[in-house]
Amino acid sequence: MTLFRGRRILAGAMTLVAAAALAACGSKTSDSGIAAGVSADVSGDTVKVGLLNSLSGTMAISEVTVRDSIMLAIEEINAAGGVLGKKIQPIGEDGASDWPTFAEKAEKLIREDRVAAVFGCWTSASRKAVKPVFEKNKALLFYPVQYEGLEQSPYIFYTGATTNQQIVPGLDYLKAQGARSLYLVGSDYVFPRTANKIIKAYAAANGMTVLGEDYAPLGSTEFGTITNKVKSSGADAVFNTLNGDSNVAFFKEYKSAGLTAASMPVVSVSIAEEEVKSIGTQYLEGQLTAWNYYQTTSGAANEKFVAAYKAKYGADKPTSDPMEAAYVSVHLWKAMVEKAGTFDVEKVREASSGITFEAPEGLVTVDGPTQHIAKTARIGKVGADGLITEVWNSGQPITPDPYLKSYPWAGGLS
């Protein structure tokens, strides 16, 4: 009896599935056309843009500051009359530190809100998750964080540094300082693993030896073993690609193992002013960082940016490289749209080449073919006041080279 009843229901359901599958299969050779891009809704006197950052989860602490500086840029632009006479209306979404959620929210911003551009994403994994969404819908993303390179999507503008604007100058600096051996410590995800691959290729070609390479899971706070290995290796310097909270534990262990910036300097690529504050200046004083911008960078544009940021969000809030890159991205988009005379994505992309902006970090220029921007590299030293002061810079903006094609030692990397 039971068996019979079950079978009938099962058979009914199966028929439904088959019918649905058949009905749907009729459209294999689709003449409806692939979604030819959803054009932005600019009919009113405002233009919508999407803000896609993690407001919850592990990445929130960093990404909220990026959202804040994007909002600052939007306010400035609106106060000056908007873009092409339209005020910018920001639509915020929470990526929740979860990559598939980023993809979902990106699609929502593009298809439901019909925004003209999206600003945001931090981790490489979130960028990789949204990349197909932007390419499929032919919509624009402005990505404001330094990353591992080896990417060039026609629908993404990369306003943070690629490897030849941050990691390679960092290595050049260490080499010039006489470092002959390195120890690599990083979080276990794509950026550190790819960055370390590049570092190893650089070291091999420049007569440096890599004495060890260790990865800790994101969020790990157990660094006793790693610091002991670092110490006993006797390396000249440590290259640190740890992200987030792990840095707190790492630098505490580092200090208690008796290692100092004088005996074995650490170059970090993910520690900016905001992180210095949370790790504790006493652990970081004298250590090195590689970025393109510091709060202390000189110039009228930066003074204005820092003052405006502190006026809006509080005097104790520092500004950092990713925040600056996000701020710059909104202004660059405005300049591109105004040069194109339209919000149309393809026209904006065509107009992008050669756009310049007097940014807090100095003059930046959009490189048309790669859609990255030319930036000045800066090595900084953490001071006792928690701010980072520049000890070296590249003198002029470095042309972005995401695939490191102009570096012979990087031949096997891409």
Binding site: T2, L3, R5, G6, R7, I9, L10, G12, A13, M14, L16, V17, A18, A20, A21, A23, A24, C25, S27, K28, S30, S32, G33, I34, A35, L55, S56, G92, E93, D94, A96, D98, W99, P100, A103, E104, K105, E107, K108, R111, E112, T123, S124, A125, K128, A129, K131, P132, V133, K136, L150, D188, Y189, V190, R193, T194, K197, P217, G412, L413
Partner: protein
Amino acid sequence: MTTVARDPVTAAEPAPPPPGEPAAGPSRHRFRAAAGFAFGAALLFAVAPLMLSDFRLSLLAKYLCVAMVAVGIGLAWGRGGMLALGQGVFFGLGGYAMAMHLKLADAGPGNMPDFMMLYGQLDELPLWWRPFASPWFALPATVLLPMAVAFVLGSLVFRRRVRGAYFAILSQALAAAMVILLIGQQGTTGGTNGLTDIQGFFGYDLDDPVNQRMVYFIIAGTLLALLALARHLMHSRYGELLVAVRDGEERVRFLGYDPAAVKLVAYVVAAGMAGLAGALFVPAVGIISPALIGIVPSIEFVIGVAVGGRATLLGPVLGAVAVAWARTALSERFPGTWTYLQGLLFVVVVAFLPGGLASLVGLARRRGGEPRDGLLSRVRRRRAGTA
């Protein structure tokens, strides 16, 4: 026949009746089930596609995949008492098996997937990727691989009579281990990024909204089929035995049954459902990553089931869809504070509706009728001196 297992158990121990088992006669029963399925099918196949935009429909497809996992958890946890806190593993196995095949199909014969060139710098495809080039291997693997893993794990665990919290912790550990394994092997698994940018689905371009719709229909149909299967299992003699094992494992053992085997079947079926859900999730969303299969998503699967009502047939499905929908709706409306609202929702459900949303329906229907799980009915039962 079906009373052999049930009677001694319930007679000897007045355990709370498993919630959600209707007491109606068989013919009314059958009619209600058929009507329910017809209603569900009409909702999924006609109302939803007509009412929702392409984007919302693709979100619904995603929710329905989560609901498939929930059907399995309802069986294993609600009926079998096994708190499966590591279903992400099986979801992931199914998802990765499907994604590996689709990535290879996208790359074309003889080529390697894009990310491998980028991160792996391998000269040729790793050996364990190769079979996935064939759909005849990959498609069955999406279901059979999770089932095989569940079988091995379940055989080891249930024979040794590992139960309750120990079983839950073990399944969590498995989820954590799998994530670490995937992230560590960046060159061949895509690491934290997972497998992204999946463009085709057996020759259909997934960028095309029409084909996205087709994927939705396949998912909706599969969910109905899985519900039918779960209903069949629940109402069969096996289903009675499973509930008996949940409520009194030792008693069932003394009656001459092997509780380990009974539990193993439910666990393996639940794993297969999770695998199938993972496999269909990939064309619907276009990504599978460790972030979808670790400890947190595994717990989220269970939360959906708990909110819906774990021991009923439809409760897990409704709960999973409701939780996923609430997550989207709340986070769109209140991007800054939605996590608090979601937490509040869970607290409210757990505090006032321990039987889940499904018990709400039951309560409303039987005002003052037969006692059911839920706060009110438990109070009533306690007053009557039966609990």
